[in-house]
Amino acid sequence: MLVYPQLESGALSQFPVLKTRTTRTVVNRAADGSTVRLADPFAGTTEWLLTYAELIDSEAAALRDFFEATEGSLNSFVFVDPVGNLFAWSERLDHETWQRDPLMNVLGSIADPRGGTATWRLVNTGAGEQTLRQTIAGPGDYNYAFSVYVRSDAHSRIALSISDQSVEQEVTPEWTRVWLAARGVPGATSVRFAMTIAAGAAVEVFGPQAEAQGGASPYMASDRTRMETVFAPRAFQTALSPSNSRRMARAHVTARQASWSISSSHVCATGAPKTAMIASPP
Protein backbone atom coordinates (compact mmCIF):
# COMPACT_ATOMS: atom_id res chain seq x y z
CA MET A 1 0.00 0.00 0.00
CA LEU A 2 1.29 3.42 -0.89
CA VAL A 3 1.93 5.86 1.92
CA TYR A 4 1.66 9.63 1.67
CA PRO A 5 5.14 11.08 2.22
CA GLN A 6 6.11 13.09 5.26
CA LEU A 7 8.41 16.05 4.90
CA GLU A 8 11.97 15.95 6.18
CA SER A 9 10.79 17.79 9.29
CA GLY A 10 8.52 14.86 10.12
CA ALA A 11 5.41 16.89 9.35
CA LEU A 12 2.77 15.76 6.91
CA SER A 13 1.84 19.21 5.75
CA GLN A 14 2.44 22.90 6.22
CA PHE A 15 0.05 25.66 7.16
CA PRO A 16 -2.48 26.54 5.98
CA VAL A 17 -4.51 23.33 5.87
CA LEU A 18 -8.05 23.42 4.57
CA LYS A 19 -10.15 20.47 5.71
CA THR A 20 -13.65 19.94 4.42
CA ARG A 21 -16.02 17.36 5.80
CA THR A 22 -19.09 16.65 3.75
CA THR A 23 -22.06 14.56 4.75
CA ARG A 24 -25.29 13.81 2.93
CA THR A 25 -28.71 14.33 4.41
CA VAL A 26 -31.91 13.72 2.50
CA VAL A 27 -34.41 16.37 3.54
CA ASN A 28 -38.13 16.28 2.82
CA ARG A 29 -39.52 19.73 3.41
CA ALA A 30 -43.24 19.96 4.06
CA ALA A 31 -45.45 22.84 3.05
CA ASP A 32 -45.56 24.17 6.59
CA GLY A 33 -41.78 24.45 6.72
CA SER A 34 -41.21 21.37 8.84
CA THR A 35 -38.72 18.79 7.66
CA VAL A 36 -38.14 15.07 7.75
CA ARG A 37 -34.46 14.15 7.57
CA LEU A 38 -32.69 10.97 6.64
CA ALA A 39 -28.95 10.51 7.11
CA ASP A 40 -26.76 8.75 4.57
CA PRO A 41 -23.71 7.86 6.68
CA PHE A 42 -21.70 6.25 3.88
CA ALA A 43 -21.96 9.13 1.45
CA GLY A 44 -19.64 11.49 3.28
CA THR A 45 -16.18 12.58 2.29
CA THR A 46 -13.30 14.38 3.90
CA GLU A 47 -11.02 16.53 1.81
CA TRP A 48 -7.75 18.20 2.59
CA LEU A 49 -6.16 20.91 0.58
CA LEU A 50 -2.46 20.85 1.42
CA THR A 51 -0.19 23.60 0.25
CA TYR A 52 3.57 23.38 0.47
CA ALA A 53 6.21 26.01 0.09
CA GLU A 54 9.96 26.24 0.53
CA LEU A 55 10.45 22.56 -0.12
CA ILE A 56 13.91 21.22 -0.57
CA ASP A 57 14.63 19.18 -3.67
CA SER A 58 14.23 15.81 -1.97
CA GLU A 59 10.85 16.77 -0.51
CA ALA A 60 9.53 18.02 -3.83
CA ALA A 61 10.86 14.89 -5.48
CA ALA A 62 9.18 12.67 -2.89
CA LEU A 63 5.83 14.32 -3.50
CA ARG A 64 6.26 14.11 -7.26
CA ASP A 65 7.30 10.46 -7.09
CA PHE A 66 4.35 9.73 -4.87
CA PHE A 67 1.95 11.31 -7.31
CA GLU A 68 3.44 9.29 -10.13
CA ALA A 69 3.10 6.13 -8.04
CA THR A 70 -0.57 6.80 -7.39
CA GLU A 71 -1.00 7.62 -11.07
CA GLY A 72 -3.05 10.63 -10.14
CA SER A 73 -6.42 9.63 -8.78
CA LEU A 74 -6.11 5.98 -9.86
CA ASN A 75 -4.52 4.30 -6.87
CA SER A 76 -5.39 4.59 -3.21
CA PHE A 77 -2.91 5.14 -0.42
CA VAL A 78 -2.63 5.50 3.32
CA PHE A 79 -2.93 8.97 4.73
CA VAL A 80 -3.37 10.23 8.26
CA ASP A 81 -5.14 13.39 9.27
CA PRO A 82 -2.44 16.06 9.69
CA VAL A 83 -4.71 18.19 11.88
CA GLY A 84 -6.26 15.56 14.11
CA ASN A 85 -5.69 13.27 17.05
CA LEU A 86 -4.99 9.82 15.65
CA PHE A 87 -6.32 8.04 18.72
CA ALA A 88 -9.88 6.84 18.76
CA TRP A 89 -11.90 7.71 21.84
CA SER A 90 -9.26 9.81 23.53
CA GLU A 91 -11.65 10.58 26.37
CA ARG A 92 -12.98 7.04 26.79
CA LEU A 93 -10.05 5.01 28.07
CA ASP A 94 -12.44 2.19 28.96
CA HIS A 95 -13.46 1.86 25.30
CA GLU A 96 -12.56 -1.37 23.58
CA THR A 97 -10.12 0.41 21.31
CA TRP A 98 -7.89 0.82 24.36
CA GLN A 99 -6.34 -2.47 25.30
CA ARG A 100 -5.13 -2.88 28.83
CA ASP A 101 -3.26 -5.52 30.73
CA PRO A 102 -5.47 -7.60 33.02
CA LEU A 103 -4.43 -5.94 36.25
CA MET A 104 -4.65 -2.40 34.97
CA ASN A 105 -7.81 -0.69 36.19
CA VAL A 106 -9.16 2.51 34.64
CA LEU A 107 -11.56 4.75 36.51
CA GLY A 108 -13.22 7.69 34.80
CA SER A 109 -15.21 10.88 35.38
CA ILE A 110 -12.44 12.66 37.28
CA ALA A 111 -11.91 16.42 37.03
CA ASP A 112 -9.55 17.35 34.22
CA PRO A 113 -7.31 20.42 33.82
CA ARG A 114 -9.75 21.97 31.36
CA GLY A 115 -12.60 22.03 33.82
CA GLY A 116 -14.35 18.92 32.53
CA THR A 117 -14.42 15.38 33.80
CA ALA A 118 -12.39 13.61 31.15
CA THR A 119 -9.55 12.47 33.38
CA TRP A 120 -8.98 8.77 33.94
CA ARG A 121 -7.13 7.17 36.81
CA LEU A 122 -4.90 4.26 35.87
CA VAL A 123 -4.38 1.93 38.78
CA ASN A 124 -1.94 -0.95 38.61
CA THR A 125 -3.20 -3.60 40.99
CA GLY A 126 -0.59 -6.13 39.96
CA ALA A 127 2.90 -6.98 41.10
CA GLY A 128 4.51 -6.03 37.80
CA GLU A 129 4.24 -3.30 35.19
CA GLN A 130 0.88 -2.91 33.49
CA THR A 131 0.14 -1.18 30.21
CA LEU A 132 -2.71 0.65 28.52
CA ARG A 133 -2.26 0.85 24.77
CA GLN A 134 -3.89 1.60 21.46
CA THR A 135 -2.72 0.43 18.08
CA ILE A 136 -3.44 2.56 15.06
CA ALA A 137 -3.21 1.56 11.43
CA GLY A 138 -0.55 4.12 10.65
CA PRO A 139 2.59 3.63 8.59
CA GLY A 140 5.57 2.54 10.64
CA ASP A 141 7.84 4.80 8.63
CA TYR A 142 6.26 7.97 9.97
CA ASN A 143 7.43 10.18 12.79
CA TYR A 144 4.87 10.27 15.58
CA ALA A 145 4.36 12.39 18.65
CA PHE A 146 2.59 10.81 21.61
CA SER A 147 1.51 13.17 24.38
CA VAL A 148 -0.66 12.96 27.48
CA TYR A 149 -1.33 15.05 30.57
CA VAL A 150 -0.46 13.24 33.79
CA ARG A 151 -0.57 13.80 37.52
CA SER A 152 -0.44 11.64 40.61
CA ASP A 153 -1.10 12.22 44.30
CA ALA A 154 2.23 10.61 45.07
CA HIS A 155 5.34 11.03 42.97
CA SER A 156 5.41 8.29 40.38
CA ARG A 157 6.63 7.49 36.89
CA ILE A 158 4.99 6.63 33.60
CA ALA A 159 6.57 5.14 30.52
CA LEU A 160 5.35 6.24 27.11
CA SER A 161 6.16 4.11 24.14
CA ILE A 162 5.74 4.23 20.40
CA SER A 163 6.21 0.75 18.96
CA ASP A 164 9.55 -0.42 20.41
CA GLN A 165 10.79 2.97 21.59
CA SER A 166 9.92 4.31 24.99
CA VAL A 167 10.77 6.99 27.49
CA GLU A 168 10.06 7.18 31.20
CA GLN A 169 8.72 10.41 32.63
CA GLU A 170 8.22 11.63 36.15
CA VAL A 171 4.67 12.19 37.39
CA THR A 172 4.09 14.85 40.02
CA PRO A 173 0.99 16.11 41.84
CA GLU A 174 0.80 18.95 39.29
CA TRP A 175 -0.66 18.41 35.83
CA THR A 176 2.22 17.97 33.39
CA ARG A 177 2.17 17.14 29.74
CA VAL A 178 4.63 14.39 28.93
CA TRP A 179 5.40 13.35 25.42
CA LEU A 180 7.53 11.19 23.22
CA ALA A 181 8.46 11.66 19.59
CA ALA A 182 9.66 8.61 17.74
CA ARG A 183 9.45 6.70 14.53
CA GLY A 184 7.52 3.44 14.21
CA VAL A 185 8.95 0.20 12.95
CA PRO A 186 9.97 0.75 9.31
CA GLY A 187 7.70 -1.08 6.93
CA ALA A 188 5.10 -1.84 9.57
CA THR A 189 1.45 -1.15 8.83
CA SER A 190 0.47 -0.36 12.39
CA VAL A 191 1.92 1.54 15.31
CA ARG A 192 1.38 0.80 18.97
CA PHE A 193 1.19 3.60 21.53
CA ALA A 194 1.34 2.58 25.18
CA MET A 195 1.38 3.98 28.69
CA THR A 196 3.00 1.79 31.34
CA ILE A 197 2.99 2.28 35.09
CA ALA A 198 4.79 0.38 37.80
CA ALA A 199 3.31 -2.11 40.24
CA GLY A 200 1.00 -0.49 42.75
CA ALA A 201 1.12 2.90 41.05
CA ALA A 202 -1.89 5.11 40.37
CA VAL A 203 -1.63 7.85 37.75
CA GLU A 204 -4.29 10.21 36.47
CA VAL A 205 -4.15 10.82 32.73
CA PHE A 206 -5.96 13.24 30.47
CA GLY A 207 -5.89 13.93 26.77
CA PRO A 208 -3.81 11.20 25.17
CA GLN A 209 -2.92 12.33 21.70
CA ALA A 210 -1.06 10.80 18.79
CA GLU A 211 0.00 12.86 15.80
CA ALA A 212 2.02 12.12 12.72
CA GLN A 213 4.59 14.86 13.28
CA GLY A 214 7.65 15.59 15.31
CA GLY A 215 6.03 17.45 18.21
CA ALA A 216 2.80 17.70 20.14
CA SER A 217 0.03 20.13 19.22
CA PRO A 218 -2.57 21.41 21.66
CA TYR A 219 -4.89 18.63 22.72
CA MET A 220 -7.71 17.67 20.36
CA ALA A 221 -10.41 15.36 21.68
CA SER A 222 -11.39 12.51 19.40
CA ASP A 223 -14.11 9.93 19.24
CA ARG A 224 -13.99 7.36 16.49
CA THR A 225 -10.81 6.58 14.69
CA ARG A 226 -9.22 9.41 12.76
CA MET A 227 -7.00 7.15 10.75
CA GLU A 228 -7.78 7.68 7.12
CA THR A 229 -6.94 4.64 5.12
CA VAL A 230 -7.87 5.08 1.52
CA PHE A 231 -7.50 8.25 -0.42
CA ALA A 232 -6.96 9.45 -3.87
CA PRO A 233 -5.45 12.76 -4.84
CA ARG A 234 -7.79 14.76 -6.99
CA ALA A 235 -5.12 17.09 -8.12
CA PHE A 236 -1.47 17.50 -7.45
CA GLN A 237 0.81 20.20 -8.67
CA THR A 238 4.39 21.10 -8.07
CA ALA A 239 6.01 24.26 -9.22
CA LEU A 240 9.37 25.90 -9.20
CA SER A 241 9.62 29.48 -8.05
CA PRO A 242 11.58 32.04 -10.07
CA SER A 243 14.49 31.82 -7.66
CA ASN A 244 14.83 28.22 -8.77
CA SER A 245 15.42 27.09 -5.22
CA ARG A 246 12.03 27.24 -3.53
CA ARG A 247 9.81 24.46 -4.62
CA MET A 248 6.12 24.66 -3.97
CA ALA A 249 3.45 22.01 -4.17
CA ARG A 250 -0.26 21.78 -3.78
CA ALA A 251 -2.18 18.60 -3.08
CA HIS A 252 -5.91 18.05 -3.03
CA VAL A 253 -6.75 14.81 -1.25
CA THR A 254 -10.15 13.20 -0.87
CA ALA A 255 -11.19 10.43 1.51
CA ARG A 256 -14.36 8.45 1.36
CA GLN A 257 -16.41 8.30 4.48
CA ALA A 258 -16.36 4.51 4.39
CA SER A 259 -12.66 4.55 5.12
CA TRP A 260 -13.01 6.30 8.43
CA SER A 261 -16.08 4.39 9.46
CA ILE A 262 -13.85 1.39 10.10
CA SER A 263 -13.71 0.98 13.83
CA SER A 264 -10.36 1.18 15.45
CA SER A 265 -11.06 -1.99 17.35
CA HIS A 266 -11.32 -3.82 14.08
CA VAL A 267 -8.01 -2.42 13.04
CA CYS A 268 -6.51 -3.45 16.35
CA ALA A 269 -7.89 -6.94 16.07
CA THR A 270 -6.38 -7.56 12.70
CA GLY A 271 -3.24 -5.55 13.22
CA ALA A 272 -3.54 -4.06 9.79
CA PRO A 273 -5.80 -1.61 8.04
CA LYS A 274 -8.76 -3.13 6.26
CA THR A 275 -7.87 -1.65 2.98
CA ALA A 276 -9.15 -4.42 0.78
CA MET A 277 -12.76 -3.73 1.61
CA ILE A 278 -12.70 -0.25 0.15
CA ALA A 279 -12.53 0.61 -3.49
CA SER A 280 -10.69 3.55 -4.88
CA PRO A 281 -12.84 6.61 -5.17
CA PRO A 282 -13.93 7.30 -8.70
Partner: protein, 118 residues
Amino acid sequence: MATFPRLKTGAVAQYPLTRRSRVQNQILHFLDGTDQRYRDSAGQRLEWEIQLSQLDPGEVADIERFFGEMQGAYGSFSFTDPWDGQVHDNCSVADDVLQTMTWAELLGTTRLTIVRNV
Protein backbone atom coordinates in the same frame (compact mmCIF):
# COMPACT_ATOMS: atom_id res chain seq x y z
CA MET B 1 -30.14 16.02 23.76
CA ALA B 2 -26.81 17.09 22.33
CA THR B 3 -25.64 20.65 22.88
CA PHE B 4 -23.71 22.87 20.51
CA PRO B 5 -20.12 23.08 21.80
CA ARG B 6 -18.88 26.20 23.52
CA LEU B 7 -15.48 27.73 23.00
CA LYS B 8 -12.91 27.66 25.77
CA THR B 9 -14.07 31.10 26.82
CA GLY B 10 -17.55 29.73 27.39
CA ALA B 11 -18.93 31.67 24.43
CA VAL B 12 -21.01 30.05 21.74
CA ALA B 13 -20.10 32.51 19.02
CA GLN B 14 -17.79 35.36 18.11
CA TYR B 15 -18.41 38.68 16.38
CA PRO B 16 -19.75 39.20 13.80
CA LEU B 17 -22.89 37.21 14.49
CA THR B 18 -25.92 37.24 12.24
CA ARG B 19 -29.35 36.10 13.39
CA ARG B 20 -32.12 35.76 10.88
CA SER B 21 -35.78 35.28 11.58
CA ARG B 22 -38.02 33.95 8.88
CA VAL B 23 -41.79 33.55 8.83
CA GLN B 24 -44.01 32.10 6.16
CA ASN B 25 -47.41 33.67 5.53
CA GLN B 26 -49.92 33.52 2.72
CA ILE B 27 -51.97 36.45 1.53
CA LEU B 28 -55.11 36.11 -0.58
CA HIS B 29 -56.08 39.33 -2.39
CA PHE B 30 -59.72 39.80 -3.29
CA LEU B 31 -61.28 41.80 -6.07
CA ASP B 32 -62.56 44.44 -3.71
CA GLY B 33 -59.02 45.16 -2.55
CA THR B 34 -59.23 43.43 0.77
CA ASP B 35 -57.05 40.52 1.65
CA GLN B 36 -56.98 37.54 3.92
CA ARG B 37 -53.77 36.55 5.61
CA TYR B 38 -52.83 33.39 7.38
CA ARG B 39 -49.73 31.80 8.79
CA ASP B 40 -48.53 28.98 6.56
CA SER B 41 -45.90 27.39 8.73
CA ALA B 42 -45.59 25.52 11.95
CA GLY B 43 -43.55 28.31 13.48
CA GLN B 44 -40.88 30.94 13.06
CA ARG B 45 -37.64 29.78 11.58
CA LEU B 46 -34.50 31.16 13.20
CA GLU B 47 -31.01 31.03 11.76
CA TRP B 48 -27.68 31.96 13.28
CA GLU B 49 -24.60 32.43 11.15
CA ILE B 50 -21.58 31.69 13.29
CA GLN B 51 -18.09 32.65 12.19
CA LEU B 52 -15.27 31.52 14.41
CA SER B 53 -11.64 32.51 14.16
CA GLN B 54 -8.44 32.25 16.17
CA LEU B 55 -9.48 28.81 17.36
CA ASP B 56 -6.97 26.45 18.83
CA PRO B 57 -6.79 22.89 17.49
CA GLY B 58 -8.86 21.59 20.40
CA GLU B 59 -11.73 23.96 19.64
CA VAL B 60 -11.60 23.10 15.95
CA ALA B 61 -11.61 19.41 16.85
CA ASP B 62 -14.60 19.88 19.16
CA ILE B 63 -16.63 21.52 16.40
CA GLU B 64 -15.57 18.94 13.88
CA ARG B 65 -16.44 16.14 16.28
CA PHE B 66 -19.83 17.71 16.94
CA PHE B 67 -20.48 17.98 13.20
CA GLY B 68 -19.61 14.30 12.85
CA GLU B 69 -21.87 13.30 15.72
CA MET B 70 -24.72 15.22 14.14
CA GLN B 71 -23.95 13.64 10.75
CA GLY B 72 -24.08 17.07 9.20
CA ALA B 73 -27.57 18.48 8.82
CA TYR B 74 -29.23 15.29 10.04
CA GLY B 75 -29.00 15.50 13.82
CA SER B 76 -30.77 17.92 16.10
CA PHE B 77 -29.43 19.57 19.21
CA SER B 78 -30.12 22.37 21.63
CA PHE B 79 -28.55 25.73 20.94
CA THR B 80 -28.24 28.75 23.19
CA ASP B 81 -29.05 31.96 21.34
CA PRO B 82 -26.00 34.19 21.89
CA TRP B 83 -28.25 37.27 21.60
CA ASP B 84 -30.53 36.57 24.52
CA GLY B 85 -29.35 33.35 26.14
CA GLN B 86 -32.55 31.50 25.31
CA VAL B 87 -32.07 27.80 24.73
CA HIS B 88 -33.69 26.46 21.57
CA ASP B 89 -34.24 22.75 21.23
CA ASN B 90 -34.52 21.00 17.87
CA CYS B 91 -31.83 22.96 16.07
CA SER B 92 -29.70 21.61 13.23
CA VAL B 93 -26.67 22.54 11.21
CA ALA B 94 -27.95 24.05 7.98
CA ASP B 95 -25.44 22.50 5.59
CA ASP B 96 -23.86 19.14 5.03
CA VAL B 97 -20.45 20.75 4.58
CA LEU B 98 -18.05 21.88 7.27
CA GLN B 99 -14.87 23.65 6.26
CA THR B 100 -12.12 24.24 8.78
CA MET B 101 -9.08 26.24 7.83
CA THR B 102 -5.97 26.09 9.97
CA TRP B 103 -3.83 29.07 9.10
CA ALA B 104 -1.27 28.45 11.82
CA GLU B 105 -0.94 26.74 15.20
CA LEU B 106 -3.65 28.71 17.02
CA LEU B 107 -5.37 30.26 14.04
CA GLY B 108 -8.18 27.93 13.09
CA THR B 109 -11.30 29.29 11.45
CA THR B 110 -14.65 27.85 10.54
CA ARG B 111 -18.17 28.92 9.76
CA LEU B 112 -21.51 27.32 10.53
CA THR B 113 -25.14 28.16 10.08
CA ILE B 114 -27.51 26.87 12.73
CA VAL B 115 -31.25 26.66 12.11
CA ARG B 116 -34.08 26.13 14.53
CA ASN B 117 -36.32 23.57 12.90
CA VAL B 118 -40.04 24.12 12.82
